[in-house]
Amino acid sequence: NSNQLSSVPLQILFYVNGIYYIFYFLATLAMIIYKSQVFSYPDEVLAPDLALLFIMAILEVPRLYLGSKGNLTEEEAPLGLSLVITVGSVILSAYFLVWQTYVLKADVIINAVLLFTYGLESVLKVIAIAAFI
């Protein structure tokens, strides 16, 4: 099996990331609904927050798919594309951590975990690409 270049930790991380992201998406959506009921959350600031959350969810799907496919087929191109999309996801996660309208302590926690996961993933992807080339 020494010919196998696919990174097992990376694959595990993709799997865990997928599950965690579903939890993250539902939690953030629930907290936005909670905030709109308890605090003053007019439409002009609520709309951007919701839009960015959905954009992040839409980006996550191809990101994980391409990364997983690239890792398993040992191709650099999908993995590289996944890395590029990860950059976008990192920026969006940073938005939810710092620039959101109301940042609750729970928001800080789950976004920090997500950013850590992305960071670890990026490192493993770079290593995998280096191995594939």
């Binding site: 907290m31 909670y34 308890v38 605090f39 003053s40 959350y41 600031v45 710092v98 620039w99 959101q100 309208t101 109301y102 940042v103 609750l104 302590k105 729970a106 928001d107 800080v108 926690i109």
Partner: protein, 552 residues
């Protein structure tokens, strides 16, 4: 003018700045510069005051409790110490919940927004947005027990108020007026204190001469007016005068006016047709009508006439006053003449203090010189025009000075020309100021200025000089008075400034032309509206009569 609007905006007061420092915020500090009892955060309290408190009514002042970490000021009394002292601690309070706000990027979320201050520009829009029905504060209306209401109603006397239709025995006092077209409609009631004048067309024919009710005098003086609404006191309408108008338009006043002249056919004409009625109602200041009189204009129609135009008018006079045309009620209306008058000799002795507010006499009004086509001042016939409220006017003429003119008579002539024969001393501050209300009249301030500079004055003291008045400027300062919804114009100050100029003695044969001007300027000195706050509603609680039944 735009600059006054900007200045008004600056002068508009805004609300007090919000206090956000918890150490300085004190909800129980109600008395200014005095110590509030049991208020531990009151800065006006000294240590001696604190030692007398029993508890702290406000133990903690914090910011928004949703924040994860916020400053809190804690006040407590240390009763163990002798004397008791107040303990003040400023701590950081931590919200343990995981859903506390760590950061908020939306600044308006954590504080109340300042409400918009009403100014004259945005008042209408704010009224539309926030104005709504308000509750009446009269306790009579809250009487749920309807049985108890009836006795109080029987004792209450009704009075006529402005605009209330004048009631007669059968219906209302009618003032026929055109409704949609120019045909007369008899359904227009006359309102109390509403001076009206209407004209409408009535269809007539000679055949139906005696049958048409509305052209007969009886129709208008038939029913008597009720002195107060819903009462049985009646006031008969008397015939004050009758004017007969012939077919060619000539009018004759009849001598005996107590005879009722009904329409009848005479020589193929129908005579005694009512062409005009003018009601004069006398009322007291308590809203009661005590007298009613009607003046008629009767005319005749011939066979070809199919319609006739009738004109109606009603006017109200308060009892014991002379009817004076109002220039506004109460504030001046733009375009109506300013009411002015004199103080009679013998004031301030408490005899009949009556100003001669003789608007009917043209020469006692506030007037200015009227420019004529012939611009020579000395040849002017002295035509003057009344000063109308709100209309800035300027007029003038040219004065030709010859060597032969003497100074003193010339000065006097020019003063007469500028001021007129009887320049009034007082001006009414409201359009409806009564002559007997002395405080409602504003005195006219007279100022004299001279046109020349200091150098000329020093130079001219060595020469024989003549100071003649060359201009009169009347400045009327007025302000908006009353509520912002319906502001009334009120005259505050009237200043008449006479400017004199030096005229040097001319060598013989020479002549000089000097322009003489007079002007009236109206200046609005209204201060910006201040929002008013309604008084707190009072609680009107009365125990029932037999509350303490067994004991009382």
């Amino acid at each position: 003018p735009p600059e006054t609007h900007a200045a008004a905006r600056e002068r508009t007061r805004s609300g007090p700045a919000p206090v956000t420092d918890v150490a300085k915020l004190c909800v129980c500090d109600l008395l200014v510069a005095q110590c509030d009892v049991n208020c531990c955060c009151d800065p006006d309290c000294s240590a001696a005051d604190f030692s007398l408190f029993t508890t702290c009514s406000v133990p903690i002042v914090t910011g928004d409790s949703h924040l994860c970490s916020q400053k809190a000021a804690i006040y407590s009394l240390d009763v163990e110490a002798n004397p008791p002292e107040r303990i003040f601690k400023l701590i950081d309070q931590v919200n343990p919940s995981v859903f506390c706000i760590y950061a908020a990027n939306y600044k308006q979320a954590l504080s109340f927004s300042s409400p918009e201050m009403p100014t004259s520009e945005n008042f209408d829009q704010l009224l539309k947005q926030f104005g709504s029905a308000s509750f009446s504060a009269e306790p009579d209306r809250w009487n749920v027990n309807t049985d108890a209401q009836n006795p109080s109603d029987a004792n209450e006397t009704y009075r006529y108020k402005y605009g209330v239709p004048i009631q007669t025995v059968d219906a209302f006092l009618r003032l026929p007026s055109p409704v949609v077209s120019s045909w007369c409609s008899d359904a227009n009631p006359a309102g109390f204190l509403v001076n009206q004048a209407t004209k409408c067309t009535r269809s007539v024919s000679v055949e139906k001469c005696g049958n048409i009710q509305a052209v007969s005098m009886l129709f208008y003086i038939n029913s008597s007016i009720l002195a107060v609404p819903k009462s049985s006191q009646m006031v008969n309408i008397t015939v004050q005068s009758i004017v007969v108008q012939s077919l060619n338009g000539m009018r004759t006043l009849l001598n005996g006016s107590d005879v009722l002249r009904l329409p009848m056919i005479l020589d193929e004409l129908c005579i005694n047709i009512v062409l005009g009625v003018s009601y004069h109602i006398t009322y007291t200041d308590t809203g009661e009508i005590i007298e009613a009189a009607a003046s008629f204009v009767l005319g005749a129609i011939n066979k070809e006439a199919l319609s006739v135009q009738q004109s109606f008018e009603i006017s109200f006079t308060q009892v014991n006053t002379k009817p004076v045309p109002l220039s506004g009620n109460p504030g001046y209306v733009v375009g109506l003449p300013i009411r002015a008058g004199f103080r009679p000799q013998g004031y301030p002795f408490p005899v009949e203090i009556l100003f001669a507010a003789l608007n009917t006499n043209k020469y006692s009004q506030l007037t200015i010189l009227q420019s004529t086509s012939n611009q020579d001042c000395l040849a002017a016939q002295g035509t003057r025009t009344p000063v109308l409220f709100g209309y800035n006017m300027i007029s003038g003429c040219k004065l030709r000075i010859t060597a032969a003119m003497k100074c003193q008579p010339l000065t006097q002539t020019l003063l007469d020309l500028l001021k007129g024969q009887s320049f009034p001393e007082y001006v009414a501050s409201f359009g409806n100021s009564q002559a007997q209300d002395v405080l409602d009249w504003v005195p006219i301030t007279h100022l004299h200025t001279s046109e020349q500079s200091d150098n000329d004055r020093i130079y001219n003291t060595f020469q024989s000089s003549c100071q003649i008045p060359v201009s009169l400027e009347i400045e009327v300062k007025w302000t908006k008075y009353g509520s912002l919804v319906n502001p009334q114009a009120r005259i505050v100050n009237v200043t008449a400034t006479i400017t004199t100029a030096t005229v040097k003695q001319l060598p013989s044969g020479r002549e000089r032309t000097i322009p003489i001007t007079s002007s009236v300027v109206f200046t609005d000195i209204s201060s910006p509206a201040e929002p008013g706050y309604k008084a707190w509603p009072t609680i009107d609680v009365k125990l029932p009569f037999d509350f303490f039944f067994p004991f009382v």
